[in-house]
Amino acid sequence: MERSFIKELQTIVGGEYILTDRESLAVYGYDSTPEIESLPAAVLLPGSTDEIIRIMRLCHGAGVTVTPRGSGTNLSGGSLSAGGVVLQSSRLNRLLEIDEENLTATVEPGVITSALHRAVEARDLFYPPDPGSMNISTMGGNVAENSGGLRGLKYGVTADYVMGLETVLADGDLLRSGGKVVKDVAGYSLNPLLVSSEGTLGIFTGITVKLIPKPRGKITMLAHFPLLQDAALAVSAIIAAKVIPATLEFLDKVTIRCVEEYAHVGLPLDVDAVLLIEVDGHPVVIAEEAAAVAELCRKHRCSFFQTAQNPSEALKLTEARRTALSALARLRPTTILEDATVPRSCIAAMLKVIQECAKKYDLVIGTFGHAGDGNLHPTCLTDERDPDEIKRAHAAFEEIFDAAISMGGTITGEHGVGLAKKKYLPRLVGESGIRVMRGIKQAFDPKGILNPGKIF
């Protein structure tokens, strides 16, 4: 990148907020995606929408690529730039408004997800999407990846809450889509396109999300199942009984062993699966729902069932799920966390495929995740210093993705395509799918300067 160009960027953001030194660039060369690194030429931390507009005009004119970044926790390489500008939105972190009449919140893109939770919950309101990374992920990142979370089964994902967006386009023009209205059919719906665009269509500078009333109560339950099949049947039975738990999380045998070894939470080592179930809502309704869940788990031969009687007991029951990732990640240096997703009726079949792949390729794969919505996290514990094992891991995941596709599922339920899953996308959406996506990209960013090389 030319010095004069860097100087111009400097005058926009101020000297302190542009990084071009080797050391800084090196640490902006990664995000949470394993095995992928790529060096940018400059990192900018703009302080206002106006600065972003000016940056985009400048880069658009010069044909320099721009990759938006929040906290760099995505798992698909989406925030990495090869020789372009990385634009980190962390300084735009104001919570602009909580509108209690319209039940909306408007934030800047750098607002941390859990900070929004705290702010709205203090007013008895609720913003449900709660990715595992919510203490550090930004709202901009959540929208760009359409992040899900533990409460997805009942409450949906980020897309279900985005009402309005303010987006700086590739040429620096400002686009406003949606707003606070509940109904809006004026023209194409742009929000759904922008949500999950992974930084390739524009840079969000303002986000308006829908809020709902905070559930009045919550009941937490834990069940152990000696047989995997029974756990899967219990999940289907609960949903068939028209109980939609807020949380319906699953741990497999490998994960159970790791959790027990690491945290000693009292899980038996001879069970195949553990389900963590939470129902929330009106106290009278959830009492009924909890009773139904208990009965269905027992009917499907759970060997243990506990209902938390108070918040501290609830915290204890959720501990196994909360420590799942830590327990797995500690085992080996390298952790590859995937998010293949299938229709929930196929969960048991999918788990079987994962187990067979682990065996076939001689790998340790622990699986946990959102059983209720079919989104599993097969987590391969490996060592990047062992190229052969890494190769086998990739081969295993390739089979797992193919299986997910053949079951009518998807290669990624919430982590995005980015660089990591690019090669699998055509198998899922076909040539026509790619062609339409390319057309959309062309309409938004004809010069192709926004987060190039991602998705397709």
Binding site: L19, D21, R22, E23, S24, A26, V27, Y28, Y30, D31, S32, T33, P34, L45, S71, G72, T73, Q88, S90, R91, I112, S133, N135, I136, L325, S326, A329, R330, P333, T334, T335, E384, R385
Partner: protein, 415 residues
């Protein structure tokens, strides 16, 4: 440095939101994840030991908040400290470092007499004169800051005053060895007096060996691992001469260090020593039911700051809060970001004044919004830093060591 410790970082970013320097800057280079990556790239030869790289690393407080948050067991603070220590060992101790770390700090009597002139300086009124005239501005900045941090010193260090054996004030239930931290003895002697009193009231005979040395933490900080081991060996030897059930300290920094003697010395007696070490809050919490009946009302609004050496290094969070809630009439409010570093961090507040002040300000803002009248903590570094900060920015709030408050409640004194 073991390479595997560096590649254990899966770059998940869970440590970013708790890192004080990341929260202030939003810079990846000032985050735990970034620091581990810098060390890794250094080891892989992708980066060199440039001035800038060292500068980035030296911004770390070694507060270890990142270690508490990390799912993979990576401890970025400790890795940076290990790196710094290694570099210093390779370079060798300088003359001043040798003098201070090896000759002065380990020996309480020498340290105490070196503090003599300071005490005189404070008492003679010269301090006031110097402060008013701003004479210190003429000295180099670190000296000025150090001076500003010092509260009024007690007339004599506690170590010189305390009896070696304090009998149990009632039927004896056991014996504890009291590890009296240097700074506690020199500056916060009232708090350590309170600690001994609480222990004695609960039926413990308290032995405070006169000849105990510094815990060795300043040596670690100064990159002098060997000096630290010398102190550790001596202390293990000294305490093994007494038959004690526990070794108790009211200094978070000492506690964290003492608990690692076993790890550093890798021998049985050191491990046995470390296994007996308790922070005072841990021991008091064992007797919560009894304490409840002994404490008298204090109508106070109180909040608690977790010292890094207690919350992150020793994993103690519940006990201090539980103890405070035992005091009748006391209103406890949880401090926002209670376990975030106060910016003291050993000598960080002297070496990195600008960042330290930013971190301190954030802490004080949180104290302000907690609406507390008294801020409680239990580590001398935090006490020094916060005392100065409160005096300058929030004078209506007082600060006390946990044991001081509990002892006053036991006495029924109004605070």
């Amino acid at each position: 440095m073991e390479y595997v410790k560096l590649i254990n970082c899966m770059r998940c970013g869970m440590c970013l939101p708790v890192c004080p320097t990341y929260k202030e800057t939003f810079l990846e280079t000032a985050s735990p994840r970034g620091r581990v990556a810098l060390l890794r790239k250094l080891q892989e030869g992708e980066l060199e030991q440039s001035e800038r790289l060292l500068e980035f690393l030296s911004l770390c407080l070694d507060c270890q908040a990142c270690a508490s948050a990390c799912p993979c067991g990576v401890n970025a603070g400790e890795l940076v400290a290990e790196f710094t220590c290694q570099r210093k060992t390779e370079k060798g101790l300088g003359f001043m470092e040798e003098l201070i770390l090896r000759r002065l700090v380990p020996h309480p009597d020498r340290l105490e007499s070196s503090m003599g002139p300071l005490r005189l300086y404070q008492r003679s009124g010269v301090q006031k004169l110097v402060r008013t005239l701003g004479l210190l501005k003429m000295f180099p900045r670190p000296l000025e800051r150090m001076e500003g941090l010092l509260p009024e010193l007690p007339a004599r260090p506690l170590r010189q005053e305390i009896q070696e054996v304090t009998p149990a004030a009632r039927e004896e239930r056991g014996t504890v060895g009291f590890f009296l931290g240097c700074v506690m003895s020199l500056i916060f002697s009232d708090a350590s007096r309170a600690t001994i009193k609480l222990l004695s009231s609960l039926g413990y005979k308290v032995i405070t060996p006169r000849n105990q040395l510094c815990c060795g933490a300043p040596n670690m900080l100064g990159g002098d691992l060997e000096g630290m081991k010398q102190d550790a060996r001596a202390n293990v030897e000294i305490f093994s001469g007494y038959d004690v059930d526990f070794i108790v300290t009211d200094c978070g920094g000492c506690g964290a260090e003492l608990k690692r003697y076993g790890h550093h010395l890798e021998d049985e007696s050191a491990s046995a020593f470390s296994a007996k070490v308790r922070d005072i809050s841990q021991l008091l919490a064992l007797h919560r039911d009894e304490l409840r009946t002994m404490l008298k009302p204090l109508e106070l609004k109180v909040t608690y700051h977790d010292p890094c050496h207690i919350a992150h290094c020793q994993g103690i969070r519940a006990e201090p809060r539980e103890l405070l809630k035992l005091v009748p009439g006391l209103t406890f409010t949880e401090l926002n970001e209670a376990d975030a570093c106060c910016g003291s961090a050993g000598t960080y507040n002297i070496q990195r004044p600008e960042m330290s002040d930013r971190i301190l300000k954030r802490k004080l803002d949180n104290v302000r919004s907690s609406d507390a009248e008294v801020l409680i903590t239990s580590n001398p570094g935090c006490l020094l830093q916060l005392k100065k900060g409160l005096a300058e920015q929030l004078p209506q709030v007082r600060i006390m060591h946990l044991t001081e408050l509990l002892a006053q409640s036991m006495e029924g004194e109004s605070v």
